[in-house]
Each structure stands twice: as C-alpha cells, then as structure tokens.
C-alpha cells in the first residue's frame, strides 16, 4: 500500500476509534449517537433477519431506473444539442443555473403531477442526474478531433452512424464522468425524496426509526446507505481515473 493510502487508512481508523471511545465514555450520550461498533452489529442483525430487504430493494430499483433513464436521455439529448449550436447557446443559462435551483422545491409539484406513487421519487433522481450526463456528453463531444469527423464523411457515414461509431466512442471517458455523477445524484435525489414523503424505502425507514427513537435501526440504516454509496462512488471514481489515464497515454 502506498504511503498516502496508509496514512488515509490510519486517519479513518483513528476517526472511527475516537467516535467509538467518545460514545463508550458517554461524552456523546447514547440517546444522540450509538457507538460505531453497535451500529455495525445492528446493521448485521438487520441484514441477516431480512426485515428491511424489501425497502432496500425498492430504493435500489428506484435509483437504478433513475440512473438508466438519465444515462439514455442525457446522452441522446447531449448528442442532439451538440449538433445544434444555436439551441445550445439559448439553453446555456439554463445549464448554468440548473444545479443552483433547489430541486426538492419541485417535489410537491411532481407529486401533484405524478401522484403519490413511486414515480415522483424516481423523477427527482432522474432530474438531478440527467443534467450531469448532458453536460459531460457535450464536453466530450466538443473534444472530438475534426480529422475523425472528416474520416467519417469520407466513409459516407450518416449522422446517426457518425454519432454511434465515431463521436460517442471518442467521448466515452467524458460521458462516463457524467454517468458517475448521475449515480451519485440519483442516490441523493431518490433517498432525499423518500425522506419527504414515502411509505417505503430506506429513506422512509430511517425517518420512521427517528420518529420512534429507535437509534439502533436508524444508525444501522444510515451506516448502510453511507457504506453503499461510498463503495459504489469510489469504485466508479477509480474506474474513471483508469479510463482517463488510458486516454492520455494513447
């Protein structure tokens, strides 16, 4: 392990150990936070008993749908926009403002439009994620060297074939950055929406446990979400670094 990685590990272990100690000594009362070891134990029991498996599956399905929709729609819209500079210029202020707008403010509106089912939660995840894919697709397509496009013209490829066989493959590492962000934003959107209104899902269960002062379940589920999201995001982060490094070498 590298020196940097080792130091990071030591730092994280120290932080968790300190939290454990403060909780055990009662500096942080158990009513506020239970020790990390108790969280892990409670999480293990919950996962083994399968009580919350339906909620976990619900949340993951919603996140999955939001990610898939954002990937497909985002890449398609990005590719279309790139071929129409005028439209893109007009929409530019919208792109610049998109993430500044509190998306949850639209949540009541989405409930009114889509009803109280699962759709508004998926919609929030999708709306947060899709713009990241559009912006990164545009960024990648802007970098396609003109010589490749000329080669495509020489081979008489149509616009669709050029996009699928030349432009998007070239832009792939940048589109991947968009996908990575889409994963993070979908989790944030869906779980946030589950907190606001929902009758199932991990966010709902955390909220429910909080209202019932059930710290064991609450901290176990919080730990579960954090571990899951961090593992997924860090794997994608590492993969993205490899992709970009390969592109630089070529």
């Amino acid at each position: 392990m590298s020196r940097v990685g080792f130091t990071r590990l030591v730092f994280l272990l120290f932080a968790v150990g300190l939290l454990e100690l403060l909780c055990r000594l009662g500096v942080i009362p158990n009513f506020t936070m239970i020790p990390p070891s108790a969280m892990a134990q409670s999480l293990w029991k919950i996962l083994a008993s399968g009580t919350f498996t339906p909620d976990i599956i619900t949340t993951l399905t919603h996140v999955g749908i939001a990610i898939a929709a954002a990937m497909i729609v985002g890449t398609a819209l990005g590719t279309l926009l790139q071929s129409s500079p005028a439209t893109r210029r007009v929409l530019d202020p919208l792109f610049a403002t998109y993430y500044a707008v509190p998306m949850y403010a639209f949540y009541p509106l989405l409930i009114v439009i889509f009803g109280l089912g699962d759709l508004p939660q998926v919609a929030i995840g999708f709306l947060l994620a899709v713009m990241a894919v559009i912006l990164n697709t545009l960024n990648g397509l802007d970098r396609v060297p003109p010589v490749l496009l000329k080669a495509a013209r020489v081979h008489r490829l149509g616009p669709l074939k050029t996009a699928l066989q030349v432009r998007l493959p070239y832009a792939a590492p940048y589109v991947f950055t968009g996908f990575k962000l889409a994963v993070a934003y979908s989790f944030i959107g869906v779980i946030g929406a589950e907190f606001i209104t929902s009758s199932r899902g991990i966010g709902y269960e955390i909220s429910f446990a909080y209202n019932n002062f059930d710290n064991g379940v609450m901290y176990a589920m919080i730990l579960f979400i954090l571990l899951l999201v961090i593992t997924v995001n860090m794997s994608l982060h590492a993969w993205e670094k490899r992709l970009l490094a390969r592109r630089r070498r070529a």
């Binding site: 506020t32 998306m103 009114v112 919080i222």
Partner: protein
C-alpha cells in the same frame, strides 16, 4: 443576437409552463400569470415575511460557516501536497453521499430549530468549497512561487500578491457551488425539522395540497437561486477572463 438569448429562453420556459398548465389543468398546476399574482399577494401578507426572514437568517449563517470552514479546510490542504492527497478521496466521498440521511443525526445533536437548520445548510456547503479551494491553491503555478522567493517577498506579500490572485477565480467557483448547496441544505433542514421558514411552508402546503402556494413558493425560491447564481456566475466569468 447574444443579448436576446436569455429572453428567448425565458419566453420558451413560460410558454412551456403555460402549455403544461393547459394539459394538466387546475388539479395539478396554475398558470404563470396566476402564480405570479398569488406570489405578489403572499409577499404583501404580513404573516409571510417572518418566514422569509427566518429562512434568510438560517441560510446566511449556514453559508457563512460553510465559506469560512470550507476555506480553512481547503487552503491548507492545497498548500500541503501530502495531506491533500490523503484527504482528496475522503472529500469526494463526503461530496457524493446523500447528506439528507444525516438529518436525524443533526436533529439529535442540535435539537429542532435554528441551529439544526444552520448546521444542515453548512454541511451541504462546506465540502464543495473546500474541494475547489484545495485545487485552486494546489494549481498555483510553481514558477510564480519560485519567482516570489527570488524577489524575497515576505509571506504576507506572497499570500496577497501571488496566492490570492492566482487562486481566487477557482475559489469563487467553489463559493458559487457552495451557495446553491447551502441553500438546498437550509431548505431541506426546514422541511424536516422546523415549524418556521419557507421549507416548512412548502411542506405544509404539500400536505394541504395547496397548489397555488406550492407554485408561488417554488417560483420565489427558483427566482432567488437563479438570480444570485447569475450574479455569482458573472463574477466567476469575469475573474476567469483570460485564464486558460
């Protein structure tokens, strides 16, 4: 026709809104005109202003804490390369977690009320500000720093004449991102753990199915966020002028 573009966009958005209204009707939506007038009526209502003040107060405090703490974390990490490399993935991980899951923890620590909202706004804003500040300081051209050493500039002069001008544009970008996230955080905090403020009103309107109020509040929040973001973006682009 560059100056016309924002107006075209605004017109497109308003027409889209009106069309959506014509499709889904009064059950789910109000027209732009009636939303604007109900927002006007709401702003004239004396009972409404305390909520605006409450949210503004919580947001300003949360944002201020986010800027100060973010810079205090980011600038030293940018200057110390090793510490920066150790911390970077941790910051990336913190940035990508759904911070809304931490709201029960915040409420248990701070209790329901102002401090919880401020804390919630602050934790949303700190990480992006720290990340941008770290990269800004890290990417200062080393030649400039060596030149400063040759010219025997004092540490204060190095900070004021080299580090600050070189890092400022990226720091401002970070503050712009942090601004939006701190606002989202504050509103989320109000939606869950508060009896006052715009987030609370939004939550209340939602449970009463008061579409008029939902739309008026959404319009107010979007207009505020978009307006401030436009100003910060202009400053951001002004500072980035001529940079690669």
């Amino acid at each position: 026709m560059k100056w016309k573009d924002p107006f075209i966009l605004l017109a497109v958005l308003l027409i889209g809104w009106e069309l959506l209204y014509l499709v889904v009707g009064d059950v789910a939506l109000r027209s732009p005109v009636s939303t604007a007038s109900s927002l006007g009526a709401m702003l004239g209502d004396a009972r409404f202003m305390p909520h605006v003040r409450e949210t503004a107060l919580a947001f300003v405090q949360g944002f201020a804490i986010a800027v100060v703490v973010g810079l205090l974390i980011g600038v030293p990490l940018g200057a110390a390369r090793f510490a920066g490399e150790v911390a970077e993935p941790i910051l990336v991980a913190l940035y990508s977690i759904p911070k809304v899951t931490l709201y029960p923890v915040i409420l248990l620590v701070f209790g329901i009320g102002m401090p919880a909202k401020v804390a919630f706004g602050a934790i949303h804003g700190i990480v992006p500000i720290a990340m941008f500040a770290m990269n800004a300081v890290r990417n200062v051209n080393p030649t400039h720093l060596r030149t400063a050493r040759v010219l025997r500039l004092s540490p204060i002069n190095v900070s004021l004449k080299i580090l600050l001008p070189a890092a400022l544009p990226e720091i401002v970008t970070g503050i712009r991102v942090g601004f939006s996230l701190a606002l989202i955080g504050t509103l989320l905090g109000e939606m869950f753990g508060s009896q006052r403020g715009l987030g609370h009103l939004l939550m209340q309107a939602m449970s009463l199915h008061n579409i008029e109020r939902i739309l008026a509040l959404t319009l107010l929040l979007v207009a505020f966020a978009a307006g401030v973001n436009a100003l910060l973006l202009a400053l951001d682009r002004h500072l980035h002028r001529g940079l690669p």
